[in-house]
């Protein structure tokens, strides 16, 4: 990956993967408690993406199905990024039953489920990474990107001030039920420089 090599060495990439591994385990543990189910942990994918590839990266993550998504920015120690949690819309029925959500599955009900899951997964994951690097991340307010959208309509790409970013993708599934969600953490190039210094310190 030539694009990746410019911002990350292989050792750094490996380290991010391991840090994520630990953080997503902590997040999965919380989700498992919330849902009373076993969360299947994948190997996280660490890559460097270009702004124009963001949509493609998302597409690869969820396929063509319609999705709902929440975004949340975070910032600390000169490092900022944004987390995005995407749910395949087919997941909501199972999610509702695991969360013992009563009543009809309206758009509002789905939003509640989306927000509750996002609070747990995003918070635990970024704090998990932060703890290992001794960074305290402050979370911004979540923003609903869209419900039941085509992915290509979800993220408007273009001039939002970055070219390359470190992307951490985690694909969570729940055992025995049809729940499928993708957590994406994005750090822009400026932040990655600072982040790399912290990582190098660990690698020493």
């Amino acid at each position: 990956m030539p694009a990746a090599a410019e911002i990350l060495t292989e050792d750094q990439r490996d380290c991010y993967q391991e840090l994520t591994n630990v953080a997503m385990g902590q997040a999965a543990d919380r989700l498992a408690r919330l849902l009373n189910a076993y969360v299947v942990l994948p190997i996280p994918k660490i890559s460097v993406i270009e702004n124009s590839d963001l949509n493609m990266a998302l597409q690869g993550a969820t396929g063509d199905s319609s999705v709902s998504a929440v975004c949340q920015g975070f910032i600390g120690a000169g490092i900022s990024g944004e987390a995005m949690l995407m749910f395949n819309d087919a997941s909501f029925a199972s999610l509702a039953s695991l969360m013992k959500y009563e009543g009809p599955l309206t758009q509002e009900a789905e939003l509640e489920l989306l927000m509750d899951t996002a609070s747990v997964l995003i918070g635990a994951c970024i704090h998990g990474i932060g703890d290992q690097l001794e960074i305290v991340f402050n979370q911004g307010h979540p923003v609903v990107l869209g419900q039941h959208c085509d992915l290509k309509d979800l993220v408007a790409y273009g001039n939002n001030g970055w070219d390359k970013a470190l992307a951490i993708e985690i694909h969570y599934t729940i055992e025995h039920v049809n729940i499928d969600c993708e957590l994406l953490l994005l750090f822009t190039e400026e932040s990655v420089k600072t982040l790399n210094k912290k990582v190098d310190y660990l690698l020493d």
């Binding site: 591994n21 630990v22 385990g25 190997i43």
Partner: protein
């Protein structure tokens, strides 16, 4: 003859972290494996009297390694070191014959506590 310790993890950073966490005064030979398949091979070669095993790995994951050890009756004491801290995961690996479970991130204190508790490291 010193004890053979195998550290099986797909991340080189995690392998290094684990090796660093081992008690300094514990006289062992440390071997490394980058995934489950390599791990099983190393155990067959007698390099894994004690195995520190990760769960999420490509090719063969930690569960696969535990199943192989049990099926082929390989002589290895396995300590699972994983970021998957769900109670269910700990239960599963214990049922598959793992001796102990350590939550990642690993540090010297946790490693020493487990090694002492299960009597793996004696006389220190």
């Amino acid at each position: 003859m010193s004890l053979n310790v195998l550290i099986c993890d797909d991340s080189s950073f995690a392998r290094k972290q684990m090796a660093r966490a081992l008690p300094k005064e514990w006289e062992v030979t440390v071997h490394f494996a980058g995934d489950g398949l390599e791990g099983v091979e190393a155990i067959r070669d007698g390099k894994g009297d004690v195995v520190f095993l990760d769960l999420t790995m490509p090719n063969m994951d930690g569960y696969g390694v535990l199943e192989t050890i049990r099926r082929d009756d390989l002589p290895a004491m396995v300590i699972v070191v994983s970021g998957d801290i769900q109670p269910d995961a700990q239960e599963r690996v214990k049922n598959l014959g793992a001796m102990a479970f350590i939550k990642k991130p690993i540090d010297a204190e946790k490693a020493r506590a487990v090694l002492t508790e299960y009597g793996i490291m004696t006389g220190v």
